[in-house]
Assembly symmetry: C2
Homo-oligomer: 234 residues x 2
DNA sequence: TGTATTTTATTTGTCGACAAGAATTTAGTG
DNA sequence: CACTAAATTCTTGTCGACAAATAAAATACA
């Protein structure tokens, strides 16, 4: 491991530095390796990635643009907090995007899209079988994002992506492990949604997505009220 | 005018440079002073604003994050094109956001919100009266954005803002001047929407917003097919 | 004359350094 | 001992310069 810094060439390709730190920071934020409120130190990151502050800064600007970090001018920058007080706005947006993207997928999908969607669904089923909560969260997001892509509306897709990311953080804050059987129901519901999409049944796809989303919202809300001590934050 | 560079202090406050160039570039893009495809030269901008390339670069990164400019790695960066081939995805998103934000405004607005909304509506009516097409576009966007703010869902508001911005570009590409009486109808429809919001009539607000949006879409589509020579772009 | 290759030029991405602001510590005063 | 003011430290925002990547121009060659 010594040669990673002594011998191995630190040669990053010319524009790759920003992408590297952006992707990694994003993952660390969404996986709560950097929990909300964590301070972000530019110079520390610069040392860690062995590069100048300039590309670090660019990555931070992009993350700030997506609302993942907050920057106080001339002062600190830190991981954005989750707004638990207005969680209903999040649920509203989540449910609507589930419905819209699934309906559009039923309308506009092509054959290749279904293969991709089914692939993600297989991953999700595997994660449920393995009781791996973190994998469930990730594969579920990938599944629904693939559906959104099949709907071919970049406006909805980009908002949905942001919402699913935020959901990843929220769920990680509350899910330590799945103790109930509900995930198996999600697997079945996913399969029904795939069916409806493949059959180009817009109405059924929308209805299934809605029920599925409301199911999830109820589950998350149950968690929220159960552990609502966390809602009071300083 | 000579003292603007010789005598006048170039003192910008410490973090204001980025905001300055960001706001100005954004306006120039949305107003088509910089039409789609225009090359953006960092060093030229640096000279123009008498600052280093660093803050220019940060502003460009933010604009790229909003999809207003496209950056080819290691190569040029230019104003993003309007995707005329998939305009229907734009209309879908526009109509849905009109409906959702107006409905939420009816549900969640407070007294102060209505004052702001009515203020923008007055500006819009004034622009219609003056036959000022550009002012109509701007004030209409401000009006609907104020409604979205009253709905208090930041997810929808941010997407809607992006959509309205894009609409500003699209309309400027096609509207030279209003020759028909339709804008007056828009003024009336706006007033009806305000009524429904104030009365907290969710259903009526949603329906009015939908009809209003579809009205606008039809109008724009009419322009598109009329000047569809522009749809074929190299 | 047309094509391939080298050379030059332009533009972007990265760097190290410096300066401005804010937070913290230290000194000073009642 | 408490409270204010000066000084220091620390972090961020900005700058000018350099190097890599690409585009453009010039040269060589068939």
């Amino acid at each position: 491991m010594t040669d990673t810094e002594a011998n191995a060439p630190n040669e990053r390709k010319r524009g790759s530095g920003v992408r590297l730190v952006y992707d990694l920071l994003r993952d660390e934020i969404l996986d709560l390796v950097l929990p909300p409120g964590s301070p972000i130190d530019e110079v520390q990151l610069a040392e860690r990635f062995k590069m100048s502050r300039t590309p670090i800064r660019e990555a931070l600007v992009r993350l700030a643009g997506e609302g993942l970090i907050d920057t106080l001018p001339n002062r600190s920058t830190m991981v954005a907090n989750v707004d638990f007080l207005n969680m209903h706005t999040y649920f509203d947006a989540l449910v609507l995007m589930y419905r819209v993207t699934t309906q559009l997928a039923a309308k506009y999908h092509r054959a290749a899209d279904l293969d991709i969607i089914r692939g993600h669904q297989a991953d999700f089923a595997k994660a449920v079988e393995a009781q791996d909560a973190l994998a469930m969260i990730a594969t579920n997001a990938a599944f629904h994002l693939a559906i959104a892509e099949a709907g071919r509306n970049p406006y909805f897709t980009s908002l949905f992506k942001r919402i699913l990311d935020e959901g990843r953080r929220i769920l990680r804050l509350y899910y330590q492990s799945y103790e109930d059987r509900l995930p198996h129901r999600f697997v079945e519901e996913h399969n029904e949604m795939i069916e409806a999409i493949a059959a180009r049944d817009l109405e059924r796809a929308e209805r299934l997505a809605r029920e599925h989303a409301e199911q999830i919202v109820r589950q998350v809300q149950k968690l929220l009220v159960r552990d609502d001590r966390l809602e009071i934050r300083l």
